[in-house]
């Protein structure tokens, strides 16, 4: 062992030395330094998550159990704002032309308290809430999507970053732009304000959990499926789908918060989709005190505080829980109202599966001597029901997000989305033990959403047809280096895709003479229910308007729209998905 090194060396074996002045503190004769070793630099790992309090609904519900929840968002070092890598909260108010003081969540005094406490009058909490809910929404979306969020465009892709303005201006609105800006307005409640909101009070849309999730989702959709915007002018369903998907995200993510569910489970006897909650106090005659008043189920209203401030009882969307009416689809054109039909269908499926699952718990409970007519559920049963509802909500949300990769390019219809859901769920869970696909099919059918191009209303018929590879040229994709391809790999794949599309245009039901926008190949990594990793490659091809027309009487819109191509991990084309559901030449229904 060398003694010439200045580096402290530790040894547990006594080593003889010739030194007379050996006065080692520990082991005589060793080369252990005389002074105690300097402490190693601190290598404390950053925490995996940051815990932050937010409203699960909005301030109008006050201290209702479950309204204030703690969310765990991925930890990152934050500058005042908060400003992180992918989210920058910048509190600029264009009405007053001023900035508001940014919260510093990394300030030890703030961090020690676990962030800011909920407060309507402190913009620091508003900034925290926007950051936390946006961050949570991004995380959940990414987890479901199976790949990091990137902003895609026909010419390439770029990093994804959102700018959030919690008090952008005095206006009764909140919105997202296609460049990743989330703007939240604030306003004074109208004279007709209902519920807990008083006329004239200041209402902040950035304190509505729903508004934040909806705008964030809107920004994400713009980034990951910009081709949908091509369809806004082609079919009203595309715009309505945008609205519905944002609504659905807000509702399903809310149901994934266990704390928010527990009180509702208690006050509905486990029937969480009941529209009215049982009052705290029983009364034989008319209610006289607030405890005797039955309240609306807040889980079922979208942005309820926002709606109440405008004098609309029950939140922004009105018809989510109406009885299904198959004729409505033919008459409702307004995008948000039409979107409610789709939202209601997915929620119907979710609640139906929950009802079926909860029934099993009730049976077990009753068989053990438990009684359901007493009104109160035991804590253990409530907990299991909350777990079940949460798990199913996450599962349904994941399915809806995954289905985005199975939607046609350049616009879609509601029945396209149903088929995308069926296919995405089949790809992950071929056995469908929970009965998700059947529940979706029946819920859509009840609302008049029936795929026109499918021969039957069965799961097999609704699933997108598999491509028969024998009729297609090989894609020739470069798979080495995936899922994180370098620039060269990206370019090679883009070229290979273009060549593949040109060579197979006819088989893909595309006009060979049309110019195409080809979106970058996205590498998706998902796991099967038995935790086996699975890689899927997805891209969209959208035809651009033809430079010259074919003309002729009765010519149709064959050149419009596009196709979504889904390749398996080996680079073999598995699905070629076009709106309208007509199977492309060379496809075979499995």
């Amino acid at each position: 062992m060398s003694t010439t090194s200045s580096r402290p060396v530790y040894s547990f074996a006594p080593v003889a030395t010739s030194s007379d002045d050996d006065q080692s503190l520990f082991f005589p004769g060793s080369d252990v330094p005389r002074e105690p070793p300097a402490p190693l630099p601190a290598t404390a790992e950053p925490p995996p998550v940051r815990l932050l309090k937010v409203y699960c609904f909005d301030p109008s519900l006050g201290r209702l159990p479950g309204n204030v929840i703690t969310v765990s968002v991925p930890y990152e070092k934050l500058a005042p704002g908060p400003v992180g890598e992918r989210i920058a909260v910048v509190d600029y108010d264009s009405t007053r032309d001023c900035f508001y003081d940014p919260v510093d969540l990394d300030d030890p005094l703030v961090a020690l308290r676990g962030g800011m406490e909920p407060s309507e009058s402190d913009p620091h909490f508003h900034q925290q809430m926007v950051y936390a809910v946006v961050s949570e929404t991004l995380r959940r979306f990414e987890t479901a999507l199976g790949r990091p969020l990137r902003r895609v465009a026909p010419e390439g892709e770029s990093s994804f970053r959102l700018y959030a303005y919690p008090h952008a201006q005095r206006v009764t609105n909140a919105w997202a732009t296609d460049t990743g800006e989330l703007a939240f307005g604030y306003f004074q409640a109208s004279a007709a304000a209902t519920g807990r909101t008083i006329p004239g009070q200041t209402v902040f849309t950035c304190l509505s959990h729903d508004a934040i999730v909806m705008t964030t989702t809107q920004a994400i959709l713009y980034a990951v499926r910009p081709d949908f915007a091509e369809g806004f002018d082609k079919h009203i369903d595309t715009l309505a789908f945008f609205s519905a998907f944002c609504d659905l995200s807000a509702l399903l993510l809310r149901f994934s918060h266990r704390e928010a569910l527990l009180d509702t489970i208690q006050r509905t006897g486990g029937v969480i989709y009941r529209s009215v909650l049982r009052a705290d106090g029983d009364t034989a005659d008319a209610p006289r005190i607030q405890a005797e008043l039955a309240a609306n189920n807040p889980l079922l209203a979208l942005a309820s505080g926002f709606g109440e401030a405008l004098g609309q009882d029950g939140g922004l969307r009105k018809t989510l829980f109406e009885a299904p009416n198959p004729g409505k689809l033919a008459t409702v054109q307004q995008p948000h109202q039409r979107g409610e039909i789709l939202t209601a269908a997915v929620l119907d499926a979710y609640f139906s599966i929950y009802a079926r699952r909860s029934m099993e718990y009730f049976r077990i409970y009753r068989s053990g001597g438990g009684r359901l007519d007493s009104g109160d559920l035991p804590a253990a049963l409530s907990g299991r029901l909350a777990d079940e509802a949460t798990r199913l909500a996450v599962s349904m949300y994941d399915l809806c997000v995954r289905a985005l990769d199975y939607c046609p390019a350049g616009g879609l219809t509601f029945d396209d989305f149903l088929r995308a859901c069926i296919t995405a769920d089949y790809e992950r869970t071929p056995t469908d033990e929970l009965g998700v696909r059947d529940a979706l099919m029946q819920a859509f059918r009840l609302r008049g959403i029936r795929p026109a191009g499918a021969p039957f209303f069965s799961e097999d018929a609704l699933r997108w047809p598999l491509v028969d590879p024998r009729h297609l040229n090989k894609p020739g994709l470069r798979l080495r280096g995936l899922p994180e391809p370098d620039e060269r790999c990206r370019q090679l794949n883009q070229r290979a895709l273009r060549a593949f599309i040109r060579a197979n245009a006819k088989a893909l039901a595309l006009q060979p003479t049309t110019a195409f926008d080809v979106y970058p190949l996205q590498v998706v990594r998902r796991s099967t229910p038995d935790d086996r990793p699975r890689q899927v490659l997805v891209t969209q091809v959208v035809s651009r308007p033809a430079a010259k027309r074919t003309g002729g009487k009765g010519a149709n819109d064959d050149t419009a729209g596009g196709v979504t191509l889904v390749f398996d991990g080996g680079g073999q084309l598995r699905y070629a998905i076009r709106t309208g559901a007509a199977p492309p030449t060379g496809s075979a229904t499995k």
Binding site: Y100, D101, V171, T172, W175, F232
Partner: protein, 478 residues
């Protein structure tokens, strides 16, 4: 019932009453029998939802019967719903027509990529604005008017139901109408701008018709295209009134102690707007510019900015209007579409640049056209921004004006934005006999629609020619 135009008879202009929208049938006699020119076919509900009176399908059926499903020419002035929705709403009917030619403004061409791109961007702007209103409340300033403009720009029903309590539309979209007109009528459209020679179909040439294209300006004259309004009180029948909601400064969301400056934020908060560097902290000047850009990004989303953008879109589309002057046996008929200020100015004045308050003399062409009119299709349904004061003043007397409109669909008297604008109607009335479509009674098998209150019993007798009322139209024989 109206008489059919015969080979030796007078020419006829038929204005259908469909609500707020243009639907004109121009028929002229010829040796080969009557030749028909259809000019637009559309309707929109407007801001209040009262614009569509639900008669367009019956009117199209009447037109089909009248023409024997044979049109020598279809003129599509521009792509607004109130001018084209009828084509897709009655697609099955139109697909049975034999059409000699279709004229559209140059802005519909498929042969110029830049034009296509701009039109696509305008459509995208309309839908983006619609998405901006995703969470908008009913009391958002100008929301109803914005939605009405968006609906007109796309043909999609942004207004149906909800706060407005209105049922869905009768179907069709602008995109579907354009597709039908460009691809589904068996004839290739011709696209025109001012300065080009109109090529009439042979049947109309043989009948003795001549046509001159007065608008829109060529596509590179963007400055004219963007001029949608003239100076209030000078160029158009409107007095100045400005408002800026929400900026009174008295409503403060937070205590003053929370006011901060951009310096309180890290440089990374403005990264998007700082030119990409090597990762070093940007220079103070660059950061300052970045802050300004961020402020502009938020400012640009202000409701009134959105309102302005959508209004600009609306005006731009109106300025794309194909303006045609027909001459038949010495009689002059001017169809102005929805042309707004810039479109008018381009052919009215000898000027290379548009001005908001033109004060000079009209150009020779403008004076010649307006000084010898026999018929004028009132621009933009009688809106204040579509027939400049100078144009009305230059018009001769004793002609006939037809205005396809529906009172109460847009604007209000209080805001001096009612359509049709009363001072404009009065000014035109001083020069011509004005017939409004909303003053015509509709009597169809399926129901009837009364004239708007205050309508005359019957149109005033013109100096030349005569009017005849039909079950859903008025004819002017000249």
């Amino acid at each position: 019932m109206a008489k059919k135009a015969s080979a030796a008879g007078p020419l006829r202009v038929r204005m259908y009453r469909v609500g707020f929208g243009d639907f004109f049938l121009f028929t002229l006699p010829s040796k080969a029998g009557p030749q028909h020119v259809l000019i637009d076919c559309g309707v929109t509900k407007g801001k209040t939802g009262k614009g569509d009176i639900g008669t367009i399908k019956a009117a199209v059926a009447d037109m089909a019967k009248e023409t024997g499903r044979k049109l020598a020419l279809i003129i599509v002035t521009h792509r607004h719903m109130d001018h084209i929705i009828g084509f897709s709403r009655c697609k099955e009917e139109f697909e049975q027509f034999e059409v000699g030619a279709i004229w559209m403004p140059v802005w519909e061409t498929e042969y110029e990529e830049n034009v296509q791109k701009l039109q696509a961007e305008l459509t995208a702007l309309a839908f983006d604005a619609g998405m901006h209103l995703a969470l908008a409340a009913d009391d958002t300033p100008g929301r109803a008017e914005l939605l009405a403009m968006l609906e007109n720009a796309t043909g999609h029903d942004f207004l149906a139901g909800g706060a407005f309590g209105i049922a869905g539309t009768g179907g069709g979209t602008n995109a579907a109408s354009l597709l039908l007109l460009k691809e589904g009528m068996g004839v290739k459209p011709t696209y025109y701008h001012k300065g080009q020679t109109a090529k009439l179909p042979k049947a109309l040439v043989d009948a003795g018709l001549e046509a001159e294209i007065l608008g829109p300006p060529p596509v590179d004259e963007l400055a004219f295209m963007k001029l949608k309004d003239l100076k209030k009180g000078v160029g158009q029948y409107l007095e100045a009134s400005e408002r800026r909601p929400g900026s009174d400064g008295r409503f403060l969301p937070f205590a003053e102690r929370f006011i901060a400056s951009p310096d309180d934020y890290p440089a990374s908060a403005f990264r998007e707007w700082v030119p990409r560097g090597a990762g070093a902290r940007p220079a103070p000047e660059a950061l300052q510019k970045a802050v300004k850009k961020l402020q502009k990004a938020v400012d640009d989303a202000q409701p009134e900015v959105l309102f302005t953008a959508v209004k600009a879109l609306d005006g731009f589309l109106n300025n794309q209007s194909l303006v045609v002057l027909f001459t038949f046996r010495g009689k002059k008929l001017l169809f102005a579409g929805d042309a707004q200020a810039g479109n008018w100015e381009y052919w009215l004045y000898d000027s290379d640049t548009p001005v908001k308050a033109p004060t000079g003399e009209l150009g020779a062409e403008g004076a010649q056209v307006l000084g010898h009119l026999d018929f004028y299709k009132v621009g933009h349904h009688g809106s204040t921004n579509a027939t400049p004061i100078a144009a009305v003043e230059a018009m001769n007397k004793d002609f006939v004006s037809m205005c396809s409109t529906q009172e109460g669909a847009f604007g209000s008297v209080e805001n001096q934005s009612e359509v049709p604008r009363i001072p404009l109607m009065e000014a035109l009335g001083g020069k011509s006999v004005v017939v409004r479509s909303d003053q015509i009674p509709v009597k169809l098998k399926g129901g009837s629609v009364d004239p708007v209150p205050g309508s005359p019993e019957e149109p005033e007798t013109p100096k030349r020619g005569r009017f005849e009322l039909g079950n859903c139209y008025v004819d002017y024989f000249l």
